[in-house]
């Protein structure tokens, strides 16, 4: 076996074992202690329910994915723009930061009723919550990446007579890219959570809404099937952006491949 393959296996085996063990303990625990399906269904039951309800689950899951990605897309555009501004200008940083902190401190779930009043029940509140929750980490990360350029690196450009904008374009912005991509994989999971939260409270579609309906009918296995789908989608989104990060800013991961 080559070293590369061995390393690959070492990357894959431990998390797989952990996940299998987790479900095994859950399954066996429920059986041994005779836990009622109404309280906590076994994972095998949840999976079985998933396959039975697949055709109902998927349109809702796709709706959630849609609101997540639209909100997340907005968060990227606004987050990068604002991050660039506060990274570029210390004055803007000082002026805007307290307000940003203030907005970020509001639990996003508390905004759902407000958005329902403004936009009605449906897609819009989910998109907005997904946007608001992901916007802050992106802006802060991009801003930090730009603002923390090493003085030595600044000297390289300054000694050539480069302007502040040159500094931003040639050094600050490219240097902020690893920060940006690192924030994306965190932010996309946040967006997803935000979207589901909005659907739980105020929607007629989406996986969150499906879970609310299922629980109101006491179909607990379906609720858990929904939770499994939510978890799987969250992991998939994280993985997708982690992969993108590795692709885009390989230089920041030197020697860790």
């Amino acid at each position: 076996m080559s070293d590369k393959m061995r390393k690959r296996l070492l990357d894959v085996i431990p998390p797989t074992v952990t996940i299998i063990l987790f479900f095994l303990i859950w399954e066996v625990g429920c059986l041994v202690f005779g836990v009622d399906e109404f309280v906590l269904p076994r994972p095998s039951v949840a999976v079985e329910t998933y396959f039975r309800w697949q055709s109902a689950i998927w349109p809702n899951a796709l709706q959630t994915l849609y609101t997540t990605l639209v909100g997340f897309g907005l968060a990227i555009v606004m987050g990068v723009a604002l991050g660039a501004l506060i990274g570029y200008s210390e004055l803007l940083y000082k002026a805007l930061y307290p307000l940003l902190i203030g907005f970020n401190s509001i639990p996003k779930a508390a905004l759902v009723p407000v958005f329902v009043i403004w936009f009605g029940v449906g897609t819009m509140p989910a998109i907005l919550i997904a946007f608001l929750i992901a916007f802050f980490p992106i802006a802060v990360n991009v801003g930090t990446g730009i603002a923390t350029v090493e003085p030595e690196m600044q000297d390289v450009l300054r000694s050539l007579g480069g302007s502040r904008f040159d500094m931003f374009r040639k050094i600050g912005f490219p240097r902020a890219m690893p920060y940006f991509f690192a924030s994306l994989k965190v932010a996309v999971t946040l967006s997803f959570v935000g979207s589901v939260i909005a659907e739980l409270g105020a929607s007629n579609r989406g996986i969150g809404n499906m879970m609310v309906i299922a629980s109101s009918r006491f179909e607990v296995p379906l609720v858990f099937a929904g939770l499994l789908v939510v978890a799987a989608m969250g992991v998939a989104l994280y993985a997708a952006f982690a992969l993108l990060e590795r692709r885009m800013v390989r230089w920041a991961y030197r020697g860790q491949n």
Binding site: D155, V156, L160, G161, G162, K170, A252
Partner: protein
């Protein structure tokens, strides 16, 4: 003797009674005191002195990164009022941009300095050829597309030298460029630098604490006192060029190094 040693050349860099104070962590630091020196065009000058004596400060003054508290810094007779476009600088660390390849790092000054900046997109091919040629001269043929982290410390420093020279500056400022390298690599790069300088004929100010390096490369060596930095000695190096590492074991070379060593010992005491 080469044309670079011609004492008839006009004065390129001049410091007149330059002093510098700055405040650091609430303390007033007196970095330089009454430094006066004149460097002729094409001359290779080295400045040596104990650490923290303000050697680097002189380079920053010439580069226009710092204004003097007192006195005047002149380039080609005109006072320095800010960063200069005809100056190239290399530092103790290579400070390459890690997201750019070696070639792209060398090209950076051309994207900043006029008139190249305007023509960069149009003449990219031509500039790339110049950069490749320069990389070739420093022995980095075939490494143009490597990322900095794929290069050794010595190779990175070579790239850094190329970056300092690509826009054909009149003045090259070197701030202990080889201090972080192992002895073999360092001495190899002395030769590389000597060749580059002889090819280009630019004025070089080299700041170093390595006396052998100073004597190997420079036509004139200035010794600075400890802080506040003053120029206390000036020694001409009249050894023939090109100098080789073999020369460094000859009595003339050794004696000069010993003489400087004694000077430094006195100023440190």
């Amino acid at each position: 003797m080469t044309m670079h040693m011609n004492t008839e050349s006009p004065i390129c860099v001049e410091l007149r009674g330059v002093s510098l104070n700055y405040v650091s962590n609430g303390r007033n630091v007196h970095a330089l005191q009454d430094v006066t020196l004149a460097i002729r065009q094409g001359e290779f000058v080295a400045i040596v002195g104990p650490s923290g004596c303000g050697k680097t400060t002189i380079l920053k003054l010439v580069a226009g990164l710092l204004p003097p508290t007192q006195g005047q810094v002149l380039i080609d007779g005109a006072p320095v009022k800010g960063p200069q476009k005809n100056v190239g600088m290399a530092f103790q660390n290579p400070i390459l941009l890690p997201w750019r390849t070696a070639l792209e790092n060398v090209l950076l000054p051309l994207e900043i300095v006029q008139p190249h900046r305007q023509e960069f997109a149009r003449n990219r091919r031509k500039y790339e050829e110049q950069a490749l040629h320069l990389l070739h001269t420093v022995g980095l043929e075939g490494f143009a597309d490597k990322a900095p982290y794929e290069l050794s410390g010595g190779m990175q420093q070579r790239v850094s030298l190329c970056r300092a020279l690509i826009h054909q500056p009149e003045i090259l400022l070197l701030d202990e460029p080889f201090a972080a390298l192992d002895a073999f690599t360092r001495e190899e790069l002395w030769g590389v630098l000597q060749t580059l300088w002889q090819d280009r004929g630019c004025t070089v100010i080299l700041v170093t604490h390595d006396l052998r390096e100073a004597v190997f490369l420079a036509s004139k060596v200035y010794v600075m006192s400890k802080r506040p930095g003053r120029l206390v000695q000036e020694a001409s190096v009249d050894l023939p060029r090109p100098r080789t590492l073999e020369n460094t074991f000859e009595p003339a070379f050794v004696n000069l190094v010993h003489h400087l060593y004694t000077c430094i010992g006195e100023v440190r005491a």
